[in-house]
């Protein structure tokens, strides 16, 4: 296997992940607060134990919003080689995936509401075994990546 893939995601990805992470944590926090309230109101346990759910969610929130996006961005790399797509991702478990261009059936770009606000897009390419994603590229870059993959796939002849 060759060295690390060359390209990185758009730096705005970190902000986007922070926001979406914060939204998820907020939902969890609401659930935890309800559990907390129920524990204090009806449970017969010390207050230190009762606040555990909210504390756990808060710690999780710090990790998800402050720590994880930076690490994730630093690790995420991709490269479109002439014969295959090379992906690397993961914070704790580092995963490296190679997808031969000859196996790619079609390529999409997609954009969620939050992504639209930051001008980011996700490239999704499908093999017979399912989809692979390259998330949070700036929209023009994503379009270029999509077109490059599409062009390279038609050049390859099926094995």
């Amino acid at each position: 296997m060759k060295g690390e893939p060359a390209e990185r995601l758009d730096p705005r990805a970190k902000t986007l992940w922070r926001i979406s992470g914060a939204l998820n944590v907020l939902l969890l926090l609401i659930g935890a607060s309800v559990a907390n309230w129920a524990l204090i109101r009806f449970g017969d346990i010390s207050i230190l134990v009762a606040v555990l759910p909210v504390l756990t969610v808060l710690v999780l929130g710090v990790v998800v919003v402050w720590v994880a996006p930076g690490l994730r961005w630093r690790r995420w790399r991709y490269e479109i080689r002439p014969d295959e797509v090379d992906l690397q991702r993961g914070i704790f478990w580092i995963e490296r995936t190679l997808v031969p261009l000859a196996r790619i059936q079609h390529v999409d770009t997609r954009q969620g509401p939050l992504q639209r606000r930051y001008g980011l897009s996700t490239v999704v390419f499908y093999t017979a075994a399912g989809p692979n994603h390259i998330p949070e590229l700036s929209t023009p870059v994503a379009a270029e990546v999509r077109d490059r993959i599409a062009a390279l796939t038609t050049e390859q002849d099926e094995l």
Partner: protein, 483 residues
């Protein structure tokens, strides 16, 4: 042959019965209510029979209309099916999109000597066939199949019939049932059955039964547990006999044909070109006797078992290579497998034991604090067997890349060997956790297309350099480098 054709008239009956089946759900409840509220006098019985008669007639009429509305035709390069009494529906399937033409024989079809033909395409969903003809005469079905598959197949091969590769004998069938290890499945059937019984036996009856038996509960358990096990085992055998009776695998050119089933005769076609990977699995009860089953994973194939199809349910392990050489030679290899490095053993044992350690710890804590006893530590007895299982997993794991095929062996309860040619790998990669990085180990995975999605061949904890080498060598343009 491009004329519109009708199905065999038995299709009317099949249609009528399936309509009745759909209506019965709605009718049973009011029917029973009626009978219960009025008692069994002549009037209610007559009314009941009248309703049954009307339903039967309506269903028969519907069956006839459905039959009249359904026609099919094979034109030069497509298959066309017209359906629908009220809402007309016409479907055209290009012949080169057809993945397989299967025939299934339900009980009704069997009674009349006709078959149901199912046509599947590559893009179709897993649960429903893309086109289904509920009744055709045997010859018509055969002719249709030849017509559809003829476009994919060379002319020369049509002349000779399929040659039978292997047939499951009655003895093998029973052995397959006895060693299927589907006791778990049978148990769940039993559990559902006992739920059903619960509804019938009243609670007070049940309580009296328990009271009568409770002095001898030990004896009861001693009797009930083996009896339950035996029943589950017999059910597993019965299930296997139902599914695999008369299992026959034959081959004609580049197509494999499977026939099987006791009550419902099923025939399936597997085009060799669609097979993505083969898995040889030696179940826990089979490995000691040197027996194995062979499954194929084919891309988007039929509704049969979702992701993979049974290629042959039972054969001696040492005949598998010879069998594959005949059936699907692309997959017939038995290379020397590369074992995992010694330092992977620690991780395998740890992974197997970890869950039980947590359970034991939790049990110990709970029993200490809640029940003030050390009983919870008994859960530690689970740890040595788990460790032994981890060691087995380590010992059985191995991989090879030979003759342009990836071979992976692993254990998940039973020992499994998967074979996939390089050109079938959709993607591949290497995964590393911090612990693996420290031990210079990695997990290698390769995905093949199967059923609705992918399915992975995985080697956990092989040497990191070997994993990188594998990922690099299995690429498209690169030429084979020897491991």
């Amino acid at each position: 042959m491009s004329s519109e054709k009708h199905l065999h008239p038995v299709a009317m009956l099949v249609g009528a019965i399936s309509t009745v089946r759909r209506w019965v759900g709605g009718l049973v409840f009011p029917g029973i209510l009626l009978l219960l509220s009025q008692g069994f006098n002549l009037r209610t019985v007559a009314l009941f029979l009248l309703v049954v008669l009307v339903v039967a007639m309506l269903a028969a009429l519907w069956g006839f209309l459905t039959w009249r509305a359904t026609t099919y035709a094979v034109t030069r390069n497509s298959f066309r099916l017209k359906q629908g009494v009220l809402q007309k529906n016409e479907r055209t399937i290009p012949l080169d999109h057809v993945q397989s033409v299967d025939t299934v024989q339900g009980i009704i079809q069997r009674a009349f000597g006709v078959v149901e033909v199912r046509i599947e395409t590559a893009g179709g969903g897993a649960s429903e066939p893309d086109a289904s003809l509920s009744a055709l005469g045997r010859e018509t079905a055969q002719a249709l199949r030849l017509e559809i598959e003829g476009s994919q197949r060379g002319r020369s091969e049509e002349a000779k019939g399929p040659t039978i590769l292997r047939r499951l004998s009655t003895r093998e069938l029973l052995v397959a049932g006895a060693t299927s290890g589907q006791i778990g499945v049978a148990f769940s059937v039993l559990a559902v059955g006992s739920q059903f019984l619960d509804d019938f036996l009243s609670e007070s009856y049940f309580r009296r039964l328990v009271e009568a038996l409770s002095p001898n509960w030990f004896m009861v358990v001693l009797l009930l547990v083996p009896a339950g096990l035996l029943l589950a085992w017999l059910l597993a055998i019965a299930g296997t006999v139902l599914a695999y009776n008369g299992f026959t695998l034959s081959r004609e050119g580049n197509f494999l044909y499977i026939k099987r089933g006791l009550l419902e005769r099923r025939e399936a076609t597997i085009p060799l070109a669609r097979i993505q990977a083969i898995r040889v699995s030696e179940g826990v009860l089979r490995q000691p006797f040197g027996l194995a089953a062979v499954r194929v994973e084919s891309a988007g194939y039929g509704e049969d078992a979702g992701v993979s199809t049974m290629l042959f349910p039972l054969l001696p392990r040492d005949e598998v290579d010879e069998f594959l050489a005949m059936a699907a030679s692309e997959f017939g290899v038995n290379p020397h497998l590369e074992p995992l490095p010694r330092r992977a053993l620690r991780r395998y044992v740890f992974r197997a034991v970890f869950g039980y350690l947590i359970i034991a710890l939790a049990a110990a804590l709970v029993s200490f604090f809640v029940f003030q006893s050390a009983r919870g530590l008994h859960a530690l007895f689970l740890v040595p067997p788990a460790a032994a299982y981890g060691w087995l997993c380590y010992r059985d794991a191995g991989w090879a890349f030979e003759g342009d095929r990836l071979v992976v062996r692993y254990r998940s309860l039973g020992r499994k060997t998967a074979v996939a040619p390089r050109r079938r790998l959709q993607s591949r990669g290497v995964m590393r956790s911090p612990f693996q990085r420290r031990a210079r180990l990695a997990t290698f995975f390769a995905e093949v297309a199967s059923g609705s999605g992918g399915s992975a061949l995985r080697v956990t904890d092989l040497d990191a350099a070997a994993a990188e080498m594998l990922a690099g060598n299995l690429g498209p343009g690169t030429h084979l480098k020897r491991a």
